[in-house]
């Protein structure tokens, strides 16, 4: 079946603008994860959803970041008033469920550049 998809694949925006990043998980996967990867670095965990619920939002870097998931499927990560330090690749992953050491499968990412 189809893998995790993300859109847009690339986004260039001006400092101070809001951006929305979209993630469509693998069909049937109830858990969804957002990560951020800066150039040449490992992954920084942002948030996860089990169904539509996000039990732990402490990984979000600031209150300019928010995420939602509706219908237990598509998720949107929103960054308000973007800053240059927000430039990174934003990766989404999904797994059958959260917990139980389920394997996370990743999408291709959205490359965000804030000018």
């Amino acid at each position: 079946g189809a893998g995790v998809s993300q859109s847009p694949s690339n986004k260039v925006t001006e400092k101070g603008k809001d951006v929305e990043l979209r993630c469509d998980p693998i069909s049937g996967h109830t858990a969804l994860y957002w990560y951020r990867q800066s150039l040449g670095q490992g992954l920084e965990f942002l948030i996860y959803f089990q169904g539509n619920s996000a039990p732990d939002k402490s990984g979000l870097p600031s209150d300019r970041f928010s995420a939602e998931r509706t219908g237990g499927s598509v998720s949107t990560l929103t960054i308000q008033r973007t800053q240059q330090e927000d430039s990174a690749v934003y990766l989404c992953a999904s797994s059958l469920e959260f917990g139980g050491a389920e394997t996370q499968y990743f999408g291709p990412g959205t490359r965000l550049l804030v000018l």
Binding site: Q41, F45, T103, Y105, F106, P108, G109
Partner: protein, 113 residues
Amino acid sequence: AQKVTQAQTEISVVEKEDVTLDCVYETRDTTYYLFWYKQPPSGELVFLIRRNSFDEQNEISGRYSWNFQKSTSSFNFTITASQVVDSAVYFCAPMDSNYQLIWGAGTKLIIKP
């Protein structure tokens, strides 16, 4: 808390050579899981293997093999007869007791033709 160390920042070998990527982790958990992912230049993370701490058998999958040593907290990855297509950044990622993957900076593997 869990921690992972991939001491090799970058490795460069000539095609057809064997190469081993090291991974050392720290954990206080008695039961845990370990993962390897590959990130080719295209950027997409590709799942390679999942191993639980109960199973110390080495695993071979084609040209890939993994050596899990619980006593030394290591989970090393070997590619035999490397190919240019193996060029990528490889991440070893233990999973903590909150089911979060712990990511290091990875090892960049360059296979020269």
